[in-house]
């Protein structure tokens, strides 16, 4: 019996170690994950998917800029350096198989310039990009 109890203690203790989250993963958790979920999956009717989707925007003209100018990104309470890091983290985590070869990471300077130009018709801009993506198939 004591041996069984000891095993259970070890199992319970191991399960109590919460995972550390920092850097762009933490910024994603605190500023994006509430809507976009931990795995980037869609919530149909409410939130579009990041996983399997976000990287494809880099395949068409204007897509790279769109990912920064979209309101949830441009208005995130993060400085340019942190925002660029989150974008690059998202592309790696949710779009690794979709981004075209040779794509360079976002820089703080690029993000700084793009987030100053907010989109006035977000849905329209997104629709145009999706249509352009459809034509590339």
């Amino acid at each position: 019996m004591p041996r069984t109890a000891a095993v259970l203690v070890v199992v319970a203790a191991a399960s109590l170690a919460a995972a550390d989250v920092g850097g762009p993963a933490l910024d994603y958790a605190l500023n994006c994950q509430g809507c976009h979920r931990a795995d980037g999956a869609a919530t149909p009717g409410s939130v579009p998917a990041l996983a399997g989707s976000v990287g494809k925007f880099l395949r068409v003209p204007g897509g790279r800029e769109f990912l920064v100018r979209v309101p949830g990104v441009a208005q995130a309470p993060l400085d340019d350096t942190a925002l660029a890091a989150v974008l690059n983290w998202m592309l790696d985590r949710f779009g690794r198989d979709d981004v075209p070869k040779g794509v360079v990471p976002y820089t703080a300077e690029e993000v700084n310039q793009l987030r100053r130009r907010p989109l006035t018709d977000v849905a329209g801009a997104r629709r145009q990009l999706v249509e352009a993506l459809e034509r590339t198939k």
Binding site: M1, A5, L8, V9, A12, S15, L16, A17, A18, A19, D20, V21, G22, G23, L26, A29, L30, N31, Q33, G34, C35, R37, A38, D39, T43, P44, G45, S46, V47, G72, P77
Partner: protein
């Protein structure tokens, strides 16, 4: 066959009697069982945060007073909760009450655990599908932003992606430890 049953009966009876003699109702096993059923492991088929990054929460057993009471607004995880506590509504700080569905869309902040001093990432998922619970109403605002910053505002009802938009109560799920690096 009958002999085999008798052997099993004797074995189980002996084991049960030995266990009863060596342990008390206040024994370690009782406390471990309570911990497992209470919150540590996802054993029951009820709605929980559908989230791969979710991790077991820190140990609250050493916390004294309301900071360690999931039915209190002052419970450490509730530093930014706005709504009715599922812990008072037939659920827990991790699980929705039966008959409700946890919204996958949520708002996320951090709360400091008074025991270890670490900042934990907390997801305040609404449980949806029944009318307001009306028990244990709490309003705390650490890290909350005004309504024009919707993704960081907790006055909103967060029943999105659920069959019903009717909100019942809110959970406070630990997702991880926030670190600076």
């Amino acid at each position: 066959m009958r002999d085999e049953r008798r052997w099993i009966d004797r074995f189980v009876e002996t084991a049960a009697r030995q266990l009863a003699q060596r342990t008390s109702r206040r024994s370690f096993i009782t406390r471990l069982g309570s911990a497992l059923v209470g919150s540590t492991l996802p054993l029951l088929p009820v709605a929980r945060a559908a989230d791969d990054s979710r991790v077991p929460p820190p140990d609250d057993s050493a916390l004294k007073g309301d900071a360690g009471d999931p039915k209190s607004c002052d419970y450490w995880r509730h530093c930014a909760i706005d709504g009715f506590l599922c812990s008072c509504c037939g659920g827990s700080q991790n699980a929705c009450p039966p008959g409700t569905e946890m919204s996958p869309v949520t708002w996320i902040g951090t709360c400091r655990h008074p025991g270890d001093g670490k900042d934990y990432i907390i997801s305040y998922n609404d449980c949806c599908g029944q009318s307001l619970c009306l028990r244990c109403r709490c309003t705390r605002t650490e890290g909350e932003k005004p309504i024009y910053f919707t993704s960081k505002n907790n006055d909103l009802l967060w029943c999105f992606g659920t069959k019903s938009r009717a909100v019942n109560c809110s959970v406070a799920v630990v997702l991880g430890v926030a670190t600076k690096s």
